[in-house]
Symmetry: C2
Subunit: 341 residues, 2 copies
């Protein structure tokens, strides 16, 4: 029985010493680079086993090897939207033998002592960037360096050839709003926009406007509010409308999360959904079908977006030619919150 020293983690040197070889040889058997005698391989492997050796990732990447890890940068993780996305990403990553490290935090623009992003070209092999998590100058730097990047739910900045994957927002929104107009005859339809600058929101609003226009309904700026794709904010936005006695017979909430906020606000105010006011969302997150009333929405293949994004990223990492722009189809899902039954 050996003395258990205050177990420092075993290093490559420890393994080398125990196996009676040089660290170079250990490195070789570890990575399968260069020829090593079968006999030596066995000895080294035993030593690694014995010492429970795990290579030090930081040292590894410092010494210039790939990390087998991809990073995901997003502003936050709270919300029903993210779980399917993450699931897709994980599925994709696992499939290709990559690890996924996630950093969720809002991007704080240029303020003197800004924190560096803890996930970058130095500890990952590639980065998935969700919406506006990283600003264009940083994206530029990474891009010019040739670092593998894939954008989620946003297009690449002008001139940069960065693959991006998103969904058919405009088309989905348009068919959703047209459903409200043609099937239910609503004409005062409100829209709750997402966060400022958000691309999804931009396209959804465009779809909304197109639908109105196609049916001769004038666009009324009073009927556009900010829900920020967030239940709490959407709720207060609707409360505000109610207080100001804005008249509407339906709300396109921007996304499902916001839709749930709308429903809470309306219910609180004693309005029936969908009888008094119809509410529709976007995304078809898992709980949409479980809501009361079940939510009419647009199915966006969130999980597929994740898988596809990873696929593109790994293509880039392997030096392949990615699909520059992937637009996944959306589909209207009619349930009850629009007035259908």
């Amino acid at each position: 029985m050996s003395v258990q020293r205050p177990s420092r983690r075993a290093t490559i040197t420890d393994v080398a010493r125990m196996a009676g070889v040089s660290i170079a040889t250990v490195s070789r058997v570890l990575n399968g680079t260069g020829p090593v005698a079968d006999e030596t391989v066995v000895i080294v492997q035993q030593a690694m086993e014995e010492l429970n050796y795990t290579p030090h990732a930081a040292a590894r990447s410092l010494a210039g090897r790939s990390t087998e890890t991809i990073g995901l940068l997003l502003p936050r993780l709270s919300g029903a939207f993210y779980p399917p996305l993450i699931r897709g990403l994980e599925t994709g990553a696992k499939e290709h033998g990559f690890d996924l490290l996630i950093h969720a935090s809002v991007y704080v623009p240029q303020d003197g002592a800004r924190r560096p992003v803890p996930l970058d070209e130095r500890n990952t092999d590639g980065l998935l960037i969700f919406t506006d998590r990283l600003d264009d100058t940083e994206i530029n730097r990474l891009y010019e360096q040739g670092f593998p990047l894939v954008l989620l739910y946003r297009a690449a900045p002008a001139g940069l050839n960065i693959p991006s994957v998103t969904v058919e927002n405009k088309r989905g929104a348009r068919s959703l709003v047209e459903h409200l107009i043609t099937v239910h005859g609503y004409r005062r339809i409100a829209y709750l926009a997402g966060p400022r600058g958000n691309e999804d929101s931009y396209w959804r609003e465009l779809g909304y406007r197109e639908a109105l226009e196609a049916h001769g309904i004038p666009f009324d700026p009073d009927l556009v509010g900010r829900g920020d794709f967030d239940d709490v904010l959407a709720r207060s936005a609707v409360e505000d409308w109610l207080r100001r006695r804005v008249a509407f017979d339906a709300i396109f909430a921007g996304d499902d999360e916001a839709a749930s906020g709308c429903i809470m606000a309306l219910r609180q105010a004693g309005k029936q959904v969908p009888d008094d006011v119809a509410v529709v969302g976007f995304d078809d997150v898992p709980f949409a079908r479980l809501m009361a009333p079940s939510l009419t929405t647009v199915r966006a293949p969130i999980e597929t977006v994740g898988e596809e994004a990873v696929r593109q990223l790994i293509t880039v990492i392997h030096g392949g030619e990615p699909v520059p722009f992937t637009l996944l189809p959306t589909e209207l899902v009619v349930r009850q919150s629009c007035g259908c039954k």
Copy 2:
């Protein structure tokens, strides 16, 4: 206008060269260690600014400095349970100036070529470990090394003094089941357990049994199934019961996620909830109130668990004395899925 070299990231050496000082000095102004002439500080800072310098985290931690980062290890991120937890963790981390890095992946026990966990004592200052994400031997190693650890939703392995934070599962479950018994008169109450070995599930089942016993209802093993805290699995578990014509008048689904699966299964089978079968969950995730029928459940302060866990972890990191075991109170939330109105 200067020539734009294929922008390699600036290193401390670049900064030193530009400022005309040694790298030691740069390091000193960077970390505020050791005395540096005010004048020099300015010059160095300008150089850093100019070069857009960011220290290389991996190199830093290699050289033995703290990382200002804490890691979160969990089996997965999909499910309504996680967003509030993450939110709590982020709030806590941000509050203390730490970054949070997340690795979500099931733990694969001892199979020869097992992947090392990409988050450990070498790139974080401390680790938050959710349920059974890491096995006891690894926890042991980290612990003996004196590495800061906090356990979420599980107690420390015997003998190890690792802080852990969880919720009053047993008490919550008991009051939930007692509600079903005393208020609604149900006697055939089924229970859907969580994943094998899961502590939450263990205590909830204990609470369930206590409630039965306290009211003279014999425990029937046929009424215990596996839902794994997952909607899909819970759904098929219920379908299985239905197929086998097991009789029950209420289901305690283990958690809210599983409850939603139960409701889908029952609805599919033409059963009314709560009229034919009552369903209750646990956790009170955000969508519980929005479900149809709205879900009777137990409010577990998930977000608070997160905040508290970070607080403990950071206490340990700073060398303080943590609270060894934090048990947060739960509270019965009566809505409609139990039969109340």
